[in-house]
């Protein structure tokens, strides 16, 4: 790749300097290149490799057999439906919020507050969100107590599900909706008012605009955001780890168990095999995302 660069520089109009500079400026790429190699490429390769190496250090596909274990299959299925459910709810509610945002000026106060709040909840949340929900619907949470004392509704009559898989649904939705706002709002505000005008001029109704123009144009962006939300909750760890300190109901928690105890299910290097499984799922989702995003970009100019 680097061999291409000198022509590129010359081609854009540098005459004298560029012939002398390439060797020197190529050196400039090295520090960051080395950094990426050690802290991005190496860990990723090690994670993949550790799933393919046996206890004796030799190449083996045996660890991958663990991915067919019923316990592991259940974990992947749990992660998948949790991600599908929370991504779907997040996409719909977040999309609705984006629709409402169209009415507020981009540099106004409402948009600033919604932008900042979305950023906090989507990117900063993690452990803090777990505490928020323990304080809300924990065994002694404010809402739990309120429901019990005021309405006589026992939230945990059937066991403390907040610390198990169902307990993750609400906290996950709580960070999925803001992420939807962050990723989908640019597409929403990218709708051209001229299209609405053209629609009205040609005798269309405002509702007809959404059915015939708005929704078809936004559909790819919506799907792309949905995929991003899926990837986000599939890979999320902190909230689940803080809520359930023992369990291993979803893949990231299963990796934690595999990392902190020597053997799980009588297998070594299970963490590597699970990581490999996650990479495959994430690669598929993000590959699909890139395809859909390309389709979506057609209308964004």
């Amino acid at each position: 790749m680097i061999a291409l660069a000198p022509e590129a520089a010359v081609g854009t109009g540098h005459r004298v300097r560029s012939r002398r500079m390439p060797s020197l400026s190529a050196v400039g790429l090295l520090p960051f290149g080395a950094y990426l190699a050690v802290f991005l490429a190496l860990p990723t390769l090690l994670a993949i490799a550790s799933g393919l190496v046996g206890g004796d250090g030799a190449f083996t596909l045996e660890n991958l057999a663990a991915l067919g274990d019923p316990v592991i299959l259940t974990t992947f299925w749990n992660s998948t439906w949790l991600s599908l459910l929370t991504a779907a709810v997040g996409a719909v509610v977040g999309g609705l919020l984006c629709y409402a945002m169209l009415g507020f000026p981009a540099d106004g106060r409402v948009r600033s507050v919604v932008d900042a709040a979305s950023g906090v909840l989507a990117q900063f949340g993690g452990v803090m969100l777990a505490f928020a929900f323990i304080a809300t619907i924990g065994l002694q949470g404010v809402v739990t107590v309120l429901l019990r004392d005021a309405l006589g509704v026992e939230l945990y009559a059937e066991g403390a599900w907040i610390y198990e898989l169902p307990g993750l649904v609400l906290p996950y939705i709580y960070f999925q909706v803001p992420l939807m706002v962050i990723t989908f709002l640019p597409a929403m505000t990218g709708l051209k008012p001229q299209w609405a005008e053209a629609n009205l001029t040609l005798g269309g109704t405002p509702a007809g605009f959404w059915w015939r123009i708005g929704i078809p144009v936004l559909a790819p962006s919506f799907l792309a955001s949905f995929l991003l939300l899926f990837a986000n909750s599939f890979s999320s760890y902190a909230t689940a780890a803080a809520l359930s300190s023992q369990g291993s109901s979803i893949v990231p928690l299963q990796i934690r168990t595999a990392l902190t105890s020597e053997t799980v299910l009588g297998r070594e290097n299970l963490a590597g095999a699970l990581a490999l499984g996650m990479i495959v799922v994430m690669a598929a989702v993000m590959g699909l995302y890139a395809l859909v995003q390309r389709r979506a970009a057609r209308w964004q100019s």
Binding site: M1, S25, Y35, F39, L46, S50, A100, A117, Q123, F124
Partner: protein, 276 residues
């Protein structure tokens, strides 16, 4: 803005905003209510006043250590962004435009690699680092530099797209400036919006990081709050509230900075309007 015609009626938009907003405020309000609760079921401020009580200093020490570590991590991570990522991006814009797409791919890649997967691969890397550089918390910044990469890249790139880097660099060079001067005194001031936004979002991400620190057994703000929550859930919730509030204010600033950085063309022709 021009989106007026597509916008829902005020009644509709305010209903949606208020509905979703109220639902989202329930957990926040519950956190506040939770920290004001006393053992007998009444309300009290003692969980908040207790934060400053020297008698509790020992119990809360993990949190102060965690905050200290997280601040150091934030500084080193911002250093990586400003002195490693940013110059490389300028170099690629000036000299290797053909590398832009592959470079962008690399920088956005960490989004699709879950932190928990990265940890599996980072464990052996950090064993080596532990032997050479020690096990200080600051070493995590190398991993965090990767975590913040997609966000920092986007912030800086949108600013780079808005200024004519080539012309600026050539003008400075033909006036006799060396490359360091070009970088520090010509390009950096033009990129300050993007660099500031990249730094602030990096700080927010670093302060919120839990996965890598917790599984590599390092202490930062998030792991400390988690540890303290085992003994004193009230204090943990109080700190969680403060941390969320701090991040919210940080991101409000980012929004403002980003808006200024995102409109460099207009800023150059009509400087007066953008400063408000």
């Amino acid at each position: 803005m021009s989106a007026e015609r597509l916008a829902p009626r005020p009644a509709v938009r305010w209903t949606i905003l208020a509905g979703v907003g109220l639902l989202f405020l329930i957990p926040i309000a519950s956190m506040i209510g939770f920290t004001l609760r006393d053992a007998g079921g009444g309300s009290t401020l003692e969980h908040w006043t207790g934060l400053a009580d020297p008698a509790n200093a020992g119990r809360y020490r993990p949190i102060w250590t965690g905050i200290g570590n997280s601040l150091v991590l934030a500084v080193v991570t911002v250093g990586i962004v400003l002195f490693l990522l940013a110059p490389t991006m300028v170099l690629i814009t000036l000299r290797y435009p053909r590398l832009r797409r592959p470079f962008e791919f690399l920088c956005l890649l960490p989004i699709s690699i879950p932190a928990i997967v990265l940890v599996v691969g980072l464990t052996p890397v950090y064993l080596t680092i532990g032997r050479t550089l020690g096990t200080g918390a600051w070493t995590l910044a190398f991993a965090y530099g990767i975590t913040v990469l997609p966000y920092a890249y986007r912030a800086i790139q949108s600013n780079l797209d808005g200024i004519d880097v080539k012309t600026l660099a050539e003008a400075a060079r033909s006036l006799g400036a060396d490359w360091l001067t070009v970088l520090l005194r010509v390009l950096a001031p033009n990129l300050r919006g993007g660099l500031l936004a990249a730094s602030l979002i990096s700080v927010a991400v670093v302060l919120g990081e839990f996965t890598i620190a917790s599984l590599l057994n390092r202490q930062n703000l998030q792991t400390a709050v988690f540890v303290v929550s085992k003994q004193d859930p009230y204090v943990a919730v109080a700190f969680a509230l403060l941390a969320l509030l701090f991040a919210f204010l940080l991101l409000l600033v980012i929004g403002r900075v980003g808006r200024i950085a995102g409109t460099p063309r207009r800023r150059r022709t009509r400087p007066a309007q953008e400063t408000s």
